[in-house]
């Protein structure tokens, strides 16, 4: 083992552990970690800083920033204030119902828009309900945590919901319909199982007031807070039309045109902002979430250094040389994919694992490999708060909400608060991924595989 394979992963792991221990300094910690990774990679002769920066998946950051701006635009239009009223009425301001209703809403919304967008839209509404419900730490951790996992599942349910699925779609590995008809039912089952475990076994609402007076007060206050809120159609229509055009482009444009998802997103959001140019300029100047962007950028730099050290390739080789059947190799691969994603986050690990998946897809049904991979990445994204792109964002939004329990003690939503939710969710989704893959392998002769052109060419090759 070379020094680079020890030092560079060591820097990454140390930075991840430190930011988990000191969440209030997390951006500073990962930024310094990224700088140290660049220095170590340069001194060890692994890569220069420009080379590491060139490996940063800027497309993920472009999508993150652009959809963040679109969500701000939808927020300006008053959409989420209307959602607040609808969600409050649907949940009847009851703690248990609120958890389930918001999780299902987030699952559905995340399938259509980026899960970061969905989270930015709905989380402030949930915070109001949490504040009014007199929450406990356990309830806040599980409610916001399950919401995050529902976002991840919704993102994995459709080929346009989250970046890993978009990667599969844009690379021509699976068609839109081929992915949707397999991933959507699997993720819906995972969500149902997770909700059943949380609501029946974990019961996080224990200790939270669920009396009718509390519910009545909560409903009355939320309705009063949004008493005259109307949807601003001048802002809402351009945002929604742009989103619809983006969805159509992501779905219909052939990959061979080279119009990538991030370009579609860039242009689509640019169009929406240009149509409301005054508001658009204001949002571009002040509406970008620099905290989450800088955090991810630093993470990507550290992961790029680890990749340059050959750690990911070593993992791929190890899987392919395992003395077990291809089915066993797939199961091991899905487990490794989940764990690697948990540590390195979805974007970077998906990019690294796709090479391994392509080689497995030459010997096994591609949909079993790719959809299984998407589900395993979803499981990994749900393992730690830092694993999903939306995790640090949810943490920041929740910290800003300044939640307190009935005794006035501040409530947190940090790495350790999310961990129990992450472990349960990881087990449920990872089990779903493996079950799906095994089922797909068993049904192999009857399976009708929708393959895109480039993937088909790869298979022929």
């Amino acid at each position: 083992m070379t020094a680079a394979r020890v030092i560079l992963p060591g820097i990454l792991m140390t930075a991840l552990a430190l930011q988990a221990l000191l969440p209030k300094r997390r951006v500073l910690i990962v930024t310094c970690g990224a700088g140290l990774s660049c220095l170590a990679a340069t001194l060890l002769g692994i890569a220069t800083t420009p080379a590491l920066l060139a490996e940063v998946p800027w497309n993920v950051l472009v999508i993150l920033v652009a959809l963040g701006l679109l969500s701000s635009m939808l927020a300006e239009a008053g959409l989420f204030d209307r959602l607040a009223v609808i969600a409050t009425r649907a949940s009847r301001a009851d703690a248990v119902r609120a958890l389930a209703v918001f999780a299902v809403v987030m699952y559905v919304v995340s399938g259509v828009v980026n899960n970061i967008t969905a989270l930015v839209l709905v989380l402030p509404v949930l915070h109001v309900l949490l504040k009014l419900a007199g929450p406990r730490q356990r309830y806040v951790s599980w409610t916001v945590g399950v919401l995050l996992v529902a976002c991840n599942l919704g993102g994995a349910a459709t080929p346009i919901g989250d970046f890993p699925a978009i990667l599969l779609l844009s690379g021509g590995r699976l068609t839109f319909v081929g992915y949707l008809q397999r991933a959507a039912p699997a993720t819906a089952v995972a969500l149902a199982v997770l909700l059943a475990i949380v609501l029946v076994v974990v019961r996080p609402a224990r200790g939270v007031a669920r009396d009718p007076i509390s519910a009545q007060l909560t409903r009355a206050i939320v309705l009063a807070m949004h008493r005259r809120v109307a949807l601003d159609r001048r802002t809402f229509v351009p945002a929604v039309v742009s989103l619809a055009l983006m969805l159509a482009a992501w779905t219909l444009l052939p990959a061979s045109w080279g119009i990538t998802p991030e370009l579609v997103c860039w242009l689509g959001v640019g169009l929406a902002l240009a149509l409301r140019h005054r508001l658009g300029e204001k949002l571009v100047r002040s509406g970008i979430d620099s905290e989450a962007t800088l955090f991810l950028l630093s993470l990507f730099v550290m992961v790029a250094a680890v990749r340059r050290a050959g750690v990911f390739e070593a993992v791929a080789r190890s899987i392919q040389t395992l003395p077990i059947s291809p089915t066993g190799q797939l199961v091991v691969f899905l487990l490794v994919a989940g764990l690697v994603t948990g540590i390195f986050s979805a974007g970077p690990s998906m990019a690294a694992l796709l090479d391994v998946a392509d080689s497995l897809a030459r010997r096994l049904p591609p949909h079993a490999v790719y959809v299984g991979l998407a589900l395993a990445v979803c499981a990994g994204s749900s393992l730690f708060l830092t694993a999903a792109t939306s995790g640090p964002l949810a943490q920041a939004i929740t910290e800003r909400a300044n939640l307190r329990d009935p005794e006035g003690r501040p409530l947190r939503f940090g790495f350790s608060d999310f961990l129990p939710v992450g472990l349960v969710s990881f087990c449920v989704i990872e089990a779903t991924a493996i079950a799906y893959a095994l089922l797909a392998l068993r049904c192999r002769p009857r399976a009708h595989v929708h393959l895109g052109t480039s993937a088909a060419r790869n298979l022929v090759r």
Binding site: A75, G78, V128, L217, I221, A224, R228
Partner: protein, 213 residues
């Protein structure tokens, strides 16, 4: 029926986003509907000392005098021909009535920092773009011969009135001369009986007029 354990936090949030008196009116009517006067008594015992405006509104309700309907007719008369009205402090239900009554006036809202901070974007969203956010440093831009300053008054004792702390920062001697009129809208039926926490005491004399019950 007992008062929910979340009631203090719920009132605090409601007061931050609706204003003390509006939140007190809402709480009183909801608690009365849910648990009758017994719940009002309990709310007064538990929350009254922290929120004196709520204490007063609850005591009025317990004495059989529910909060009167909000009518902006007198306040519009007091504002006279002002075409620009800068409102200092928040009372959402009263502001709703004012916005409906002043169809052509330009309305600004100064909140300042009074210990309770609501989501300003959500607060303003209820006025359909009719009310603009005004920061402390921007107040001079709203001054003029046809501009009025308005704040909500929470009862008065002798020569003094109780107002939002933001009023003290806005209505200094130099600012007073730059506005056509300074109007107070008394939102309480009678003076508070407890220490006016969250509020500030100010002389009533600078007000051109104080309108209220």
């Amino acid at each position: 029926m007992t008062l929910p354990v979340s009631a203090p936090a719920a009132f605090r949030l409601a007061a931050a986003e609706l204003g003390m008196c509006s939140a007190a009116r809402l709480f009183t009517s909801e608690l009365l509907a849910a648990g009758g006067t017994a719940l009002l008594v309990e709310a007064r015992e538990q929350l009254g000392s922290d929120y004196p405006v709520l204490d007063l509104v609850l005591s009025e309700a317990l004495e059989g005098r529910p909060a009167p309907a909000i009518d902006a007719t007198e306040i519009v008369r007091a504002l006279g021909t002002a075409t620009t009205v800068l409102v200092v402090g928040l009372e959402a239900f009263f502001l709703d009535a004012l916005v409906s009554a002043l169809r052509d006036a330009r309305l600004g809202l100064v909140l300042g920092e009074g210990g309770l901070e609501g989501d300003l974007r959500r607060i303003l969203a209820n006025f359909g773009g009719r009310v603009e956010e005004v920061r402390m440093g921007e107040i001079q831009r709203w001054a003029g011969r046809k501009s009025a300053l308005l704040t909500f008054v929470y009862g008065s004792v002798g020569a003094n009135a109780y107002v939002s702390p933001a009023w003290l920062r806005v209505a200094g001697p130099d600012v007073r001369t730059q506005f056509r009129t300074l109007v107070g809208w008394n939102v309480l039926a009678r003076p508070m009986t407890l220490y006016p926490r969250w509020l500030a005491e100010t002389p009533s004399e600078p007000f051109s007029r104080v309108v209220g019950p």
